[in-house]
Symmetry: C2
Subunit: 210 residues, 2 copies
């Protein structure tokens, strides 16, 4: 129950939750062995991950699936909904906006911004696209907590700084730069090119090892 959670543990918690949701045994118990099999890890790892936060299981029995789900949702902070703003109404922005898993997990898009005048005022679903000029105003008015940056690298830093200034709590960044923000505002980077490069790296190395 201490306070130093490895980043990797957090990722695995998400997997455990998804695992519980995907398997139909919403009633009944689940063992660390089963959770491990689904999440591509070990039973000991599952138990260690959970033990950082308390005791969720019963010795000799395992974990109550329904209860564990609920606990995981609380831990991950998704036992509530989050107000999200999307910056960048391009292809990636659209894909994210329409991504059903977001809404079903409680991430609610309450504002969309773009700098392109031809897009401003048009609507996606029930959201009309706002100009970046009114960014701070809208962020505060709608109590936005998370910002998704789906804009090019050269404007990402500026928008990130403005978002922090406006009181946003976290940033999901698709722009291929490392954002400079205060340590108390977490940033998660998604960099698609790096993922592809990690693949070609592994393939290339493997061939050389033969």
């Amino acid at each position: 129950m201490n306070r130093k959670i490895p980043q990797s543990t957090v990722r695995r918690l998400s997997h455990y939750l998804r695992s519980l949701e995907s398997f139909p045994k919403s009633e009944g118990t689940v063992s660390s062995e089963e959770l491990a099999a689904w999440g591509q890890t070990t039973a000991a790892q599952v138990r260690k991950d959970l033990s950082h936060f308390g005791s969720f299981g019963k010795r000799g029995l395992g974990y109550q699936a329904g209860e564990l789900s609920k606990s995981l949702r609380t831990l991950l902070g998704i036992d509530r909904s989050w107000k999200v703003a999307l910056v960048g109404a391009g292809r990636i922005g659209l894909a994210l906006y329409e991504y059903p898993a977001f809404r079903s997990r409680g991430y609610d898009c309450v504002a969309i911004f773009d700098s392109d005048p031809s897009k401003i005022g048009t609507a996606w679903g029930d959201q009309s696209i706002c100009a970046l000029e009114v960014f701070e105003e809208v962020i505060k008015e709608r109590d936005v907590e998370l910002v998704i940056l789906a804009i090019p690298a050269d404007s990402a830093q500026e928008v990130a700084s403005r978002a922090v200034e406006a009181g946003v709590n976290g940033i999901l960044n698709f722009a291929p730069i490392r954002l400079n923000v205060p340590a108390e505002v977490p940033v998660e980077d998604v960099n698609l090119v790096i993922e592809l490069e990690a693949l070609s790296f592994q393939i290339t190395q493997r061939k050389q090892d033969v």
Copy 2:
């Protein structure tokens, strides 16, 4: 020059390369200090990362920017082009297909697949969308090496298995499941919900720590 490269090192190599490309000093030298500043790491880490693969710098001087770029591209396996197939012609697929950084890094989309009959035969750019029925045939005929899965979780495993069977070398997986494939075929997962959950986790924990 050994053979046990941390996964994190690979990610950082990509950052170093992007760093070199973003800074205009394509001629001249770069120090580990400078690379570290851009990549949000330490100078020692930069040197250790590179030392796994050989000696790229000159003591007292630093690294020759142009040479180091070239070496990094070779290490990452992007000193060539890769033939990529996109499976899933939905919003995410479209965003990826139009993502300029892919093509500029040498990832060439040579086939698009979808299961929706109304999409089959229509074209995106110069690629017409193929049915999954002809998957193996097209993969082999066009020498596809990498597959990007931008399809729902329930069909992802089947397509992944067929891709491996057809001789694909690596998979970039956007479906929220852990794919079961032989160890010699690397898989990189991109899971957008997990990234958001990592954010809400951190924000939630932080608030409780006060």
